[in-house]
Symmetry: C2
Subunit: 338 residues, 2 copies
């Protein structure tokens, strides 16, 4: 094991999971934390019918403004989506800022205005906050933390641990847009085609899905570590195998081109406006239809299924007719992508 923190500890991949297990779960002995879903869900004795959800994320993305968004929009979408991924309707957010001395106040105001707009779009209210300033050179412009509280509707039980053999794996649209848009901006690459982050709040999409059919077993947004890492997390949590048809996974031409230039695999590139849903087979058609009617789900596709074979592993059936294990992200392919 490494003796110091490496960039890959923040990649969302294997080393992140090692750190969580070997340091955080070792000391923070909470059954809710050990669930390792995107948000923790609990009931309170005052009303045992209600399930509350709580989540948090810090955002350190660089650059702070990028095609399709900025760190403020991302900080709202990311936390709203983590609540949505346990089926919760987000209610309230916190916003905490770590600012580097010298950050132009006009940049801060632009970011705050973007947060306010995105919160309005998602129907959440920012009700408490905090501001810290660190001396020049000891942070990088601005870091934002948001935590979020939501309510899980009655009868909803969504967890990464709930996938069952026979379930269907659904993806809400093309992958790689956020990661490649940010990396291209950071590297100063210009393409002849547009490449915009897909950053978007997904809570209304999830609400539409639940209205169509409650038999949603797992939801997760493939952010850090990309689609491949998310599928591996779900396979491990549920102790099932997952089989994916490569030809069914939509990858935009622009993402293909940027991946080639930057030496990145789109399956490991971050998304900030997509979700993976694992649903009961009888629910597939109703949920697909509901998703395709929603602005953030127009390009929804079924990409694979869950199997009792090879528990904990994700198998990719390639376009060439071969199959291979699709592993979790191992290194730090895309640092500071969120």
């Amino acid at each position: 094991m490494a003796k110091e923190v490496l960039l890959a500890h923040g990649s969302g991949g294997k080393l992140t999971h090692d750190l969580i297990r070997n340091v955080f779960l070792k000391h923070f002995r909470s059954p809710l934390l050990a669930m390792r879903d995107d948000a923790a869900v609990w009931r309170h004795s005052s009303s045992t019918e209600v399930q509350w959800a709580l989540t948090t994320d810090s955002y350190v993305i660089q650059p702070i403004f990028f095609p399709g968004g900025d760190i403020g929009k991302l900080a709202i979408c990311g936390t709203v989506n983590d609540l949505a991924m346990v089926g919760a309707q987000p209610l309230y957010l916190t916003a905490s800022f770590i600012l580097e001395e010298g950050l132009p106040l006009s940049d801060l105001e632009q970011i705050v205005a973007s947060m306010a707009r995105t919160a309005d779009e998602a129907g959440v209210e920012i009700i408490t906050g905090d501001t810290k300033v660190v001396d020049r050179g000891n942070a990088d412009q601005i870091f934002i933390n948001t935590a979020g509280v939501g309510i899980v509707p009655k009868g909803v039980h969504i967890s990464g641990a709930n996938a069952q053999p026979g379930d269907v794996v659904i993806l809400s649209g093309p992958i790689g847009l956020h990661g490649l848009a940010v990396m291209s901006q950071r590297e100063g690459l210009r393409f002849s085609f547009p490449l915009h982050s897909d950053c978007a709040p997904l809570n209304s999409l999830v609400a539409a899905m639940l209205q169509a059919d409650m038999r949603i077993h797992c939801l997760r947004d493939p952010t850090r570590g990309g689609l491949a890492t998310t599928l591996n997390e779900l396979a491990a949590q549920s102790q099932v195998g997952i089989e994916i048809e490569e030809a069914r996974v939509p990858i935009p031409e622009s993402v293909h081109a940027a991946c080639e230039l930057l030496g990145i695999d789109a399956f490991y590139a971050a998304n900030e406006g997509k979700l993976v849903a694992i649903v009961a087979p009888e629910a597939e058609s109703a949920i697909l239809a509901a998703m395709r009617r929603h602005p953030h789900g127009r390009e929804t596709v079924t990409i694979g299924h869950v199997t009792a074979a090879h528990p904990g592993k994700v198998i990719l059936h390639t376009t060439l007719g071969a199959h291979r294990i699709l592993d979790m992200l191992a290194g730090a392919q895309l640092p500071r992508i969120c």
Copy 2:
């Protein structure tokens, strides 16, 4: 107004308040946020008898280990205390880490273990979290954010806006210990006397106070900006005057000495294990007695009272028999103290 972020914007003093008003409150139009208490309090339709509280803080203290604590202990105490300051019993915390590449993993584990111990002491559970890593030179070792959720017991209505003329101002013990311990450590000063941070979770002290008498109008922990800034916040929020007897405010000999060496006024130095309570005069004796029985309140004293005169202003009656306006912190006396 400044064009860029200054260290003083993070001091907790005048510039912090300007930033909150001119940027955050301008865009985040939430009545709960506009209350500007240490935590936001709401009710949910599922059980209108229950009041929930939510708060957040990011911690950027330097050095990360200091006499009497570390950034992990501070990150638990600070957020637990913000919940306690609206009378809430803390239930659940989030923990989000921004790590600088190269941080020794042994330091991280020591901090996480300290968080776990402090959370146990306070009776709270860390149920969800996040880890980000930034490249070397773009953060300073470790920044931690904690957000907290709590329940406000029935019949409790504590807010910085509730002080009334005739109320009594109570302080739970000697001031300046956290700020001076951290500054002395940072400057490499050694004294012949011990100087330890007072960093402690105050939720059980507040519970004991409420059990003694519910007529507590305001609670606030004098952290950034110190006692002087906290009293000014309460005077402004409640639109009342506050009169303080300087001779009654306990300042330890060690704090006096360190203040003199460092050119710091103890009234503006941060505390992390003290609270100011403004209570109805009839409740004073019961609350004083309850506080003095508690380990974190043994040295509790009444330091002044609330008046209808000079609303928004704090008057200090000095030991020399004169009186002067005790203003909010204006500059950045103590950067990165929490």
